[in-house]
């Protein structure tokens, strides 16, 4: 099920280190508009950091990232984060929505206000328009009746769906999910994954870091396997799970054969 489209995301030689070592080593990838991409790999392989670099939650050390026409790049020799770079990062965040592993809805605001806040503050949308839009998105993720509730009264699955609606309210070109279901009770996982499938059907470009191999295999356009800070292999789910080319991929997937069989 290949989709047509020019690369919406272009990543080239992305490098990132923390105090305790190199986390991303020359990662390069192109992702087309409308793709649903799953990123898998062992703990500490750099997949979360990769995702966080894409919307500048972490600043890359060197390389360049272009998403929907906005480019952030560094040569690795700069002494400071200069203003143009930070402005590009700010623009990037507006184009890229992100949902985190742990729920971080704003507890002092209702679900509706959570969804409306960023459009009001960042995009200066008119309140009426923001409200209408927010209610539409909440309906889309199945939370129409929960608009007036506070986050603390939601289940984990509902909270993650609300987070997705909140990110969508900024009209992002790309949605990123950092293990969005890992912290959920098993029976709540599917309602969240279903939202992503629905968005995929609408043509949203999405990247999901996940441990749900069945979802990765069945729903993604392709799967990226990362290990040791590098992209080891990138292929269609069926191909990757049945005939991985790389020994490291095979080793990793051995733990999951039962789950996806």
């Amino acid at each position: 099920m290949t989709k047509v489209g020019a690369p919406l995301i272009h990543v080239e030689n992305l490098c990132k280190s923390f105090e305790d070592g190199e986390v991303l080593k020359n990662v390069s990838i192109d992702i087309r508009e409308g793709d649903l991409v799953s990123v898998i790999g062992p703990s500490g392989c750099g997949k979360s950091t990769f995702l966080r670099c894409l919307n500048c939650m972490e600043y890359l050390d060197s390389g360049n990232i272009t998403i929907a026409g906005v480019t952030v790049s560094r040569t690795g020799t700069e002494e400071h984060l200069d203003r143009p770079f930070l402005e590009a990062c700010a623009q990037m965040r507006k184009n890229v929505g992100m949902v985190f592993q742990s729920v971080n809805l704003f507890p002092h605001k209702t679900v509706l206000d959570n969804v409306m806040l960023a459009p009001l503050v960042v995009k200066k949308e008119a309140p009426d328009q923001a409200r209408e839009n927010a209610l539409r998105l909440l309906a889309k993720v199945g939370l129409k009746d929960f608009a007036a509730r506070y986050p603390a009264t939601l289940s984990g699955g509902q909270a993650q769906r609300a987070s997705i609606a909140r990110a969508l309210a900024m009209n992002p070109k790309v949605m990123l999910y950092d293990e969005p279901t890992s912290a959920l009770d098993p029976e709540l996982v599917n309602e969240v994954l279903q939202v992503m499938k629905d968005l995929d059907a609408e043509g949203m470009t999405q990247i999901i870091v996940t441990h749900h191999m069945r979802f990765a295999r069945n729903a993604s356009d392709y799967i990226v396997f990362m290990d040791g800070g590098e992209i080891v292999e990138k292929d269609d789910g069926d191909v990757l799970f049945t005939t991985p080319k790389n020994e490291r991929t095979r080793e990793f997937l051995r733990h999951f054969t039962e789950e996806v069989a």
């Binding site: 923390f18 979360s48 972490e58 600043y59 960042v122 506070y150 984990g156 890992s182 912290a183």
Partner: protein, 546 residues
Amino acid sequence: MMAHERHRSASPDEWKMAGQIVRVLFPLFVLVLTLCLVPGIPGSAAAEKPALKWGGDTEGGAPFMFADPADPDMLIGFEVEIVEQIADYLGMRAEFVQNGWDNLIPGLQRHLYDISINGLEITPEHKQEVNFSIPYYRTFLQLSVRRDEKGITSLEDCTDKVVGTLKQSYAYFTLVDAGVKDIRTYEDEINAYTDLQNGRLDATLFDAPIAIYYAGFNPEIKFVGGPIGEMEYGIALRKEDTELLRKINEAVVHLRDSGELRRIYDRWNLWSPVMADLFQDFSPAKEAPSRFQEWAEHQKPEFTLALRLKRYAGFLPILGRAAVVTMEVSLAAMALAIVLGLFLAMTRIFGPSLLSHLAVLYIEFIRGTPVLIQLFFIFYGLPHIGIKLSPFVAGVLGLGLNYAAYEAENYRAGLLSVPRLQMEGALALGMSRWEALRHVVLPQAIRVSLPPVTNDFISLLKDSSLVSVITMVDLTKAYGQLATTYYDYFGTGILVAIIYLLLGLPFVRLARWTERRMAVAVHGGAIPGGTGRNGKYSLGRKPASY
């Protein structure tokens, strides 16, 4: 991977109500702050005569200057009459400025007033600081004992006895020189005489006018021995004001020679052989001691409960005005503390390294030094570098700057209690750091900080009593004034305590209410380690994405 934890959090209603407090309180504080910063409307400049501003301490008590027992709004005393006569002679209008007795000379240097007259002794130490007029009064020290005391007839009998007097006074040093081993010092004469009567002291040594007024009418106490030592009171002026000194001296000489001063001393029962020597006036009394009689009348122990209650009712206007001062200073100081504290906390956590360190330095320095010293420094110290503040502004600044350090720590605790994920979530939505702080982090932090901040206001209300040292007549100062006038620390004390309690009560209730509401306000989403390297704000290091 972390297991998902259901977050305990405040219920929607609680969040709403907490939000309302913030919304109601904040504009209130801003309003008060504004009111305080707007300079007072100048009084009607009707006085055609130039003002002779004079400083004294009404708490010094009778017979120097004190609230009239018959009408506590009126200031009376033999020194009040002298100043009025002097001003009259100079064609001026006497304008009283209240200041604590210990600070009368600093207040003079600070140009709070131009002359000070309040039993200031002409001593070599004082003369280094200020100029004195020729003495207007000469007196001596008087030893007092209980009526049944047989063993003490002079200072020499006191070496092994317990003797009370005012701290740092001429009497105190006289006792030290006489070799008295057990000297108890007091802030005011009333408590010393009460302790003498109760047997805690064997004797007291005071300036004769004080002895006359606080023990002279008391049948339980008697004077023993003759005059001890000699001291002279003068009017203090700044060294540079030589022209004013000349005019004041001229006025004193005139009042002495015309017999005006003699008449004042007669009325107040303060004429004595040493005065006769000083003025070379050995004639009999010109007037009856009418003012002394009035005073003694009010000190009678057979004062009935009904009369006493009526007297307390008469205190209410004075205490009411003082309560307004206390409340104004406290509210304005708290407004300052709340705003500045927030700024300090934000600077400390989010500011660039240098500013952050400066904020820490400020907080530690302020918290490590007594607020009393800070008030003195602001009011009496800053004028040396040209910054002269009104007592009100100085009081608000002193208390506000002090409490800001404490509020900063409250806010910091609040800010640190907001999980870093909240900031990340807001940034990921495209908000700037400031927008994220303003809309996401701060509202949550303030909810957590609200109970301790409200509690602090209650202690600030009480600490505001310190402004009495910088010439303000707040509740505590009014208490001292009324108590010394009426010889009544007990009833007045209960009355003042009740007023403090009533002032603080709304805030006590507010604090309890916020505590109850916030007790369950543990933040949602606080699952550390979910993303990135830091689960929460680290104290020492800022996360990379800020």
